[in-house]
Symmetry: C3
Subunit: 337 residues, 3 copies
Amino acid sequence: MKFSGRNILSVGEFTRAEIERIFEVADRMEPYAHRRRITKVLDGAILGSMFFEPSTRTRVSFGCAFNLLGGEVRETTGFESSSLSKGESLRDTARVLSGYSDVIVMRHPQAGSVAEFASASRVPVINGGDGANEHPSQALLDLYTIRKEIRHQGRAGIDGLSIGMIGDLKFGRTVHSLCKMLTLFKNVSVTLISPRELSMPADIVEQLRRAGHNVVESDNMEQSLSVDIAYATRIQEERFASLEEALMYRGRYRLNKRVYTQFCKPNTVIMHPLPRDSRAEANELSDDLDDNPNLAIFRQADNGVLVRMALFVLILDVVDQVDLHARDVNWYTERRF
Amino acid sequence: MKFSGRNILSVGEFTRAEIERIFEVADRMEPYAHRRRITKVLDGAILGSMFFEPSTRTRVSFGCAFNLLGGEVRETTGFESSSLSKGESLRDTARVLSGYSDVIVMRHPQAGSVAEFASASRVPVINGGDGANEHPSQALLDLYTIRKEIRHQGRAGIDGLSIGMIGDLKFGRTVHSLCKMLTLFKNVSVTLISPRELSMPADIVEQLRRAGHNVVESDNMEQSLSVDIAYATRIQEERFASLEEALMYRGRYRLNKRVYTQFCKPNTVIMHPLPRDSRAEANELSDDLDDNPNLAIFRQADNGVLVRMALFVLILDVVDQVDLHARDVNWYTERRF
Amino acid sequence: MKFSGRNILSVGEFTRAEIERIFEVADRMEPYAHRRRITKVLDGAILGSMFFEPSTRTRVSFGCAFNLLGGEVRETTGFESSSLSKGESLRDTARVLSGYSDVIVMRHPQAGSVAEFASASRVPVINGGDGANEHPSQALLDLYTIRKEIRHQGRAGIDGLSIGMIGDLKFGRTVHSLCKMLTLFKNVSVTLISPRELSMPADIVEQLRRAGHNVVESDNMEQSLSVDIAYATRIQEERFASLEEALMYRGRYRLNKRVYTQFCKPNTVIMHPLPRDSRAEANELSDDLDDNPNLAIFRQADNGVLVRMALFVLILDVVDQVDLHARDVNWYTERRF
């Protein structure tokens, strides 16, 4: 298990031991992310943040994670203005831009582009999403959230859990990645709830089954919610051929207080990769659940910072130095808690 | 008077004592803003700067103020790419993004949006302008400038002053806010100079009168300039129904050297929220006044940094620590003076 | 030779001694840019980075250089949203924005704009490119690269070298600036290789000749490549009247392995200001040369950081303090080497 200098490109590249190492390091980032302590372990380091496709919260979450470790962030957003539009190859872009930072996070609309970039980069590269392909830090934070919520309920971990995934399972990159990571665990029951036209790709279902998991597919949400984890998703409008087609599915499934009370387990954890579509015609996860302590969606977003901090300290090989460069926070933070 | 953890949303929320406290703290920021000393009091803190509507100088002024205190800034600009455009509620956006920073400044085109955001935020929020509604830090820096310029002339303060406001008083958010803050002071003479169609809203005039101030409305600039403070404004083209309508008023009032010499007091202080429109057809404040020592418009912009630093140290409760984390500047700064 | 507080606007403002001073300081920045050491000499300082025209790598290179010295960067990109579009004069913009930083780098599409801005700025201004006019840090990094590559070959310096410039010599700002700087040196042989319609402006050719240099113009690349330095350029599509016109010249000259082996000297150094256009129809500098140790294009980009760091420490007058605020890097950096 070696993280120093490594690229983070795909969920498929991790062993179970590596994932558990990432999560253990993420746990240790809590005092810093929760603003009780600050660390300057990466004081003087530069993150090159390159978002050739917009994604405010992924970008800010990575940038914040790097700042929380004491480092600086240099950002590029948008594509039109870049050298790529003047015919530069991704490899050239990588060779130049990797001279300007210590680690890079990159998002790009084209599948495979981040791996190509990484192959020419002189510093480690983290995939912040390459089109419909991969978004490994999102998958890691989802799995980390499941582990944390379940442990909070006094259970051991992910082996043996039951998980329901709801909504657009065809285009939802996050549920694809989550399924792939679940193949590293044992005896998980996976219920895939979607309109038939938006069902989980067959090869991913097959991977789950080969891992020994019990997989059930259904287009009836209510009868399928007796699970430990209910993972709702947004209709990925931007991935459909037309908006009209996407709108056919918006609002098909709605997880709300009534449904939760009637069909979920007493402690079913509710997750969602966010943003949730709160417009009346969609409302896939109603805000009448916002007071439910099992609604984990905002803790899930917070966990993204922990996981991204963990990735940075692991690939830059400073895990054991984090606490050495630390002190207490000296400003007001009470409202946070 | 409690500032720790407080949102800064509206000029109406301050008492006179609170305003004086902000100004006193702003005074203490001078050595840092003027680059004689640096402080690292907010070393490790993160400002989330969210400009869903563009405003270069407000954004840079806030960011600079936070950097001058030793903190980091993570910025978001633009709206199209944000999760709000995918149907996310402002409250969800707030809950997520407030996990990424210690304090937030937000600008948004829609009145009331920043307050709604703040109600769900886990960290203090400063309103950087919400449409036609409020822009409290601008109002504070205007009032701070008046106090500072008048004191520089050897007078005590704002009570008893005479102020002329010139131009688009209907849409000019800065003059609205300034009037509201003046109601906290005593015996101010306010002359409102505008085309009748762009006159100050009646409710604001009424507030001034109820505060005991003497208010005169006029559409003749030259006969109304015998004041301590002349506050010129730009026609807010972007707030009119059509550009044609806005152009009818552009250039109606022009404060220049000839007018100043003939009609102003010897030491009338000239203010303007900037940018001033220097195109020949507008030229509401001529550059032939640039050598006049009473032209305070650039000092006014500089004061914005002081006031914003003061807001940050007050709501993050580090006022008394600022000087403890300080040292002299070690690089070239002479050209500044 | 005085750098403190100076603007960097044009290549024409430097003496040979000044250029050599810049290069000597750039050499001393290597341990920091190569991530062996970090320095905090500009801890607390703010760079105002104003790119009114997009240029990702120039912007990131300057920002990175400032971060590497321990300073913070506040960026503005784009023009539409700026106060300039509301009729503000460049001088007003300068007076306001220079209150927010310790040094400014500015790029703007209009020739002469940066000099106008600088004349009103209260802090030093570096020209990051003003339209077709100047881009002095690019010219300095090109010359610095020539000096470094030639020294690496065991030769003394730039006097007496032979240089071929290839491609769009009419619109290529970088080759114009490079020629102007070469007039400070002695006995250089300059071969100008371009289609006749895109030849070097006559006044620049004249300047080279007046400096005593031997200048040859040619539209035949292969017969002109027996030089110490071959400097290839991209067709500046964006400067032509129409794309059709630009496309007439794209792909006219192609420097590749076959051409290099057959026509260049054994150690001809290959340079290019980047981005190179790697699309099949252009391909002015083939990637089949990427393994050639004389391909200096990525070292050239890296040198940009060194030169920009040198400019910052010189104009902010902290050259002798850089090493005093330094320590070893504490994170993983091996992949870089």
